[in-house]
Symmetry: C2
Subunit: 774 residues, 2 copies
């Protein structure tokens, strides 16, 4: 034991020991606000079981400006551990009984009557409560020990913490940082029904994030950034546990506007704009979408005509419905990244992005610019969406974000990418960050909803099985489990796939794997956001009338996240992109090896693999087989590959009949969507399995595996019609899977609260009155 | 031709004729508001192609206080028909060209140049537009003729009107009346974000409904009512095309509070309270639900203790969470119908309802009553929900609603229903009206959403199949059809089942079929409201970003209707009721004929019927068979009966093993839910088929049949896993059904707009900017 700790240890009298557990947890959570402190200090001064020295010591460590040093902290922890080894579960069930028990072991313990008096315990409890600490937090300071666990309502904190470490992975530090900040009363939820007040509030919060250095993660260090794009997305993911208006505002300013400058601009733009943009001195919007063109960005109609005489671009909105629409930051910004068709010498070179000043320093609109408020929306009313139109707005030549296309000194268009189509998709590649972010944010919203519904479901009772006995906890009803647990399992599964995607994207600075990442991002964004919408709805309903009250969070959660299925790419359109991507990959192999050969090979692979499997497995209802990960992976693979093969066959058939390829695509459109879903399902399972494989054996791994079983079985059952139709399974097997699913619910039930606790969402952020403790 | 018409006909000069089509449609729609009239009159005075006599005639019929008589109306109609028989589609494509064409046939037509001048046509167009008339409305006045129909965007008005007649059925008159009223500018949608303003506004609207005599339909004529309970529910259904806050407020005051007085009270209560309640002089709430007891009404904890000495009841809320919760009208009311456990001489007689005054004339709370606002909710913020607590509130003996239980002059409890359980369920029977109403209102909300999404989808274009050609209408994408059309089909199907239920309920004044109706109401309420939530979500997404703007209605539609799945009985709980009801029926036959015999009989029926069918049908992919209504009915029946049989078998098995019946029920709970869903699916199909069978042959019937095909095929496919699992169909057949479904989309597509027009929801009530015409 180092000297300082020994020295510090000697100071711990019985009086100090009695309050150490409470203080320790208080500081560990860093939740000491000024008003709490004041109350605690006045309380300490009153305590008759403390000496004046005790009081002085304790008061010192309730001063927020004087946090205990690491040594002091360790001393406290060791003292608690040392003195508590012989205690039983009851003694450590609350921080106050723990404190009183270890006080007994302190030097000079006497006057037992005073220590045993009920008001002594009550005094410590009051201090704990005024610090906002729940008793279950006590377990954190006793590794190896647990507070007595009631499997129906309590949480295995140690397991939850361990699982959270796995979930947070590389993003633990940034996640803890942002969550700690968001727990500050400054960020406490407010009911702001008036959009203008709400928008001002969100802007203020965004500026606070900037002051805390949280807006610079995705930008290069040479311009004041931190060059950690993965952390940037993780901030977005964690902000999404809080107000989604703030999250989206953050994404608009930094991901979209800042992202356009960084991704489409060149050094001079970076030098001039990145720093003020990060500092919120330059607020900008991303003016891409138009009323008549959302999904079809290529078809947008705003034009930027180059005028060589004045070396400038003239921006025009050709008609009302070619105005920019739903543009976030429209009412607050002074600059817009405007996407327009670049015309040089009467020739169009396709969509490019231009920086256009839209307001002066007094926030007046500049000549030729018209901006209108989009008004109230279903949700996200803290974000100032608006419409923009331009009439003969002239901007200097250097305001073209010219990384992928420029006009040279002779007034000639030049581009490093010759193929205009390829150029367009390269420029749009910047959207991938947004899609990964929104996918993760959707999953955060789902986690919040599941945390509230699970916690409420394990407290709420309704209907007694017999008169005179206590009513049943609603989470014990199989139908309630059937409502929540498969969604919980899928949320876990999506988490790992989305997180891996974030890490892969951050690592792909040379854009080598960009196309693959884009396909994955499109697919995961679609599936994760639909999952979020569905999950939040189910959780709202699972909380009954309570879920309908604004005070229980679902109101905002549902309304704010609803647009996720549409923005950053409409989900249906994205899944078509995914399917087309898969087909292109498939076709590539045609070109290398010839159509017939490849079709034959794949066909053989699908049917051979299948017939090998067929004899043994279609009717195998053995429970080990049904929980076997290889069986899951193979079934998911088979579904994807067969859908790919059959849709290719159909397309081939139509094209042979000389049906126009677009018509052929339309005929197969629903089939394509099925393929894309099968692809994402398999991607998610593979990533989940890979993540679990890396974990050490133990409770945490077992819990992840249990959720993975449930995800796999649930997905198979959701597609059982397809598997039966294709003779991949017989009815006896799908029925066995259904029985297994209900068995899995029974395994999930005792850890349900632990499983949502593992998401690590602080109560302040859950923001639901029905699940506030004490 | 009657004389008056002949006489009137002679007045129709060319000038008058030119404006007759426009005026006719204007009056037919009764949408002439004062400001419109003023504009039209000043316009008419200016027209140089009218004589002074023409002007006088026309001005006379633009005075809202002077509507044209039936004769005048008929004259106009005949004149238009007579003069337009030789016209071609182009001539009648607009009301102005139609007017100018028939003017030519008028006596004394001359000065052709003036009539052909563009400004003449423009002047008539201006008048049409200022009356808010769309050209497509012109078709209404030309039965047998149609405006030129573009199958992609236009509407076959004649067919839509004919279909609407079938949909409205017996409730056409009341529906037209209420819709006409709601189109009045007084009811125009407002964005009221502040709940208190919104609540005042809704209360004002409710009072207007009362003044219009629309609040008395469900009450007996002897107390000022109209004794048309079916019409009362139809009003609720039609109000649900408008603001759902108003709808719910109406339901709370009349259905719940008024319904309790009428259904649970006796003559003295009716005499004293019904009239002021209908007139909104007595605002009341229905205080049943408590924080700790919602679904389990039987377990509610508020008590009413009878005190014989004072002949009064003392009402008490035993603890905070036994307070009444989510109570609509809580902030506006002066009286509450309070549900409490009745205690007489220390003995509980179960839940009874008591009338408790809660506020005095100055709207101050009375002693012992505490009421708190429930605050903001997800939606329905125009309804004043609150919480109520009672402390020693004394009410006179006569305030017990004593139809099913009373205390006699000796202080003894008496009841016409001896069995307390039966008594409880009889009292709760009053809730059935609410369930039928909410089911219908949910379907109204779904119709609104589908009308908006279909109309928008057939205007909106995105992505061209090739460069340089017009972009594709999004409703032409199979995935978009897949999104909307099955939901449209189910909405049609649910409509007939719900409407039939309303009519059956109204006819059941002697409560003879009450239990059956309750089962149906529980099941249909659950399925219809889930369908509404799902449909609105899908429609919102189908409108992309536009669907997220408050101006396009989904914001309110989604938020307001969301609670439908929870209130008037939580859907999951209701489906369990349904399943239990079915099992009870099933068990009844046990008692009559012995367990074994019945089980054997049903088992044989299920398997025999099945094996007969088996050889010929499991793999029959003939399209006529797949569209054969008998095949659909038989498959739906089989699913319901087999689920009933198997769940009974399972229950029997558990009970044989001496498993407690409640435990056994829990083990089968998910199975029970499946059974309830299968029952409702079949109920809906049967009612739909019965309604169609009564229709005369023709386009309307064909269209209903097409939607019925789609409903049946879609439902079969949604359960294809089950049918395959149970060897009722082979994969070849389910695949054929899938192909058929896409074929049906192609048949639905050209009439999609007509199919939503047939719902007859006025544009003012749709309230979506994206689908306002012109």
């Amino acid at each position: 034991m180092p000297n300082t700790i020994l020295q510090e240890s000697s100071k711990l009298t019985p009086g100090i020991l009695s309050l150490i557990p409470t203080l320790y947890v208080g500081w560990a959570d860093s939740i000491l606000s000024p008003s709490e402190i004041e109350f605690v200090q006045s309380k300490i001064k009153e305590l008759d079981f403390l000496t004046e020295d005790d009081k002085a010591y304790l008061l010192k460590y309730t001063d927020p400006r004087n946090p205990p040093s690491d040594e002091v902290f360790k001393t406290w922890k060791l003292a608690i551990q040392r003195h508590s080894t012989t205690l039983n579960a009851e003694d450590i069930a609350s921080l106050e009984s723990l404190g009183l028990e270890i006080a007994k072991k302190g030097i000079g313990y006497q006057n037992e009557a005073l220590w045993k008096a009920p008001q002594t315990k009550q005094a410590i409890r009051d201090i704990r409560k005024s610090l906002g600490i729940q008793n279950r937090d006590g377990a954190r300071i006793l590794p190896g020990h647990l507070v007595k666990v009631n499997p129906h309502t309590d949480i295995n904190i140690v397991l939850a913490k361990e699982m959270q470490e796995h979930l947070d992975g590389d993003y633990k530090e940034i996640g803890d940082k942002i969550k700690k900040l968001l727990r500050d009363p400054f960020f406490a939820y407010k009911t702001l029904r008036n959009k203008d007040e709400y928008r001002d509030h969100v802007l203020e919060q965004l500026k606070t994030l900037a002051r805390q250095g949280l807006t610079s993660y995705s930008f290069p260090t040479e311009y004041g950034g931190q060059n950690k794009p993965g952390d940037h997305i993780a901030i977005f993911e964690n902000l999404a546990y809080h107000d989604l208006s703030l999250t989206v505002k953050y994404g608009v300013q930094l991901g979209l506007f800042g992202g356009a400058i960084q991704g489409l601009g060149t050094e001079s733009h970076h030098r001039k704009y990145l720093k003020p943009m990060m500092d919120m001195d330059l607020l900008g919007c991303f003016a891409m979408t138009e009323t008549n063109h959302g999904s079809n960005v290529k078809g947008l109609e705003t034009v930027a005509v180059y005028d060589h005489a004045s070396e400038s671009y003239i921006i025009n909105t050709p008609h009302e419905k070619a105005g920019k629409e739903y543009i976030g930051n429209a009412m607050h910004c002074t600059m817009a990244a405007v996407f327009a068709q670049l015309i040089v010498d009467g020739k169009s070179h396709g969509v490019h992005a231009f920086l256009v000043e839209v307001r002066d320093k007094d926030h007046n609109l500049l000549p030729g610019v018209r901006i209108e408020d989009n008004g109230y929306k279903m949700g996200l009313n803290g974000v100032d969406n608006g419409r923009l139109w331009f009439q003969n707005v002239s901007i200097p030549k250097e305001n073209l974000l010219n990384k992928y296309g420029d006009v040279d000194d002779n007034g000639q268009y030049t581009s490093p990418i010759e193929n205009p189509n390829k150029r367009f998709f390269t420029m749009l590649g910047a959207l991938v960050t947004g899609r990964v972010s929104v996918g993760l944010a959707g999953n955060s919203a789902a986690k919040t909803a599941l945390s509230i519904a699970t916690k409420y479901g394990s407290q709420r009772r309704q209907f007694a099985s017999k008169d005179g006995i206590e009513e049943t906890i609603i989470l014990d009803y199989p139908t309630h489990q059937d409502r929540l647990f498969p969604l919980l399992a899928k949320t876990y599964a999506l988490h790992f796939a989305l997180q891996k995607l974030n890490t892969d994207l951050a690592a792909d600075s040379d854009h080598k794997d960009r196309r693959k990442i884009e396909t994955k991002a499109a697919g995961l964004k679609a599936i994760a956001t639909w999952h979020a919408t569905h999950t939040i709805q189910e959780c709202r309903e699972a909380c009954g009338g309570k879920g309908y009250l604004a005070e229980n969070r679902f109101t905002d959660l549902k309304a704010d996240s609803d647009i996720f299925t549409t923005f950053e790419g409409d989900n249906t359109v994205l899944l078509q992109l995914v399917a087309k991507g898969l087909l292109t990959e498939f076709k590539k192999s045609f070109h290398d090896e010839g159509v017939k050969a490849v079709m034959k090979y794949i066909g053989a692979q699908v049917s051979q693999k299948f017939s090998e499997y067929n004899f043994t497995a279609t009717r195998n209802t053995n429970i080990e087989h049904l929980r076997d990960r290889d069986f899951h992976l193979e079934a998911f693979r088979y579904r994807e590959k067969k859908l790919l093969y059959t849709v290719s066959q159909r397309m081939q058939g139509y094209i042979k009949k000389r049906i126009d390829s677009n018509q052929a695509f339309l005929k197969c459109q629903i089939h394509f969507l099925e393929l894309a879903k099968a692809y994402v399902d398999r991607l998610v399972l593979r990533n989940y399995v890979a993540a679990i494989d890396k974990m050490p054996e133990g409770d945490a791994k077992d819990s992840f595996n249990l959720m993975c079983d449930l995800y796999a079985v649930d997905t198979l059952l959701n597609n059982k019609g397809w598997f039966l139709e294709n003779d991949y399974m017989e009815g006896s097997k799908t029925k066995a899977l259904r029985r297994l699913k209900q068995k899995l619910y029974q395994e999930v039930r005792p850890r349900a609260n632990t499983l949502v606790e593992a998401f690590g969402i602080p109560e302040e952020l859950l923001g639901a009155k029905i699940v506030l403790y004490n």
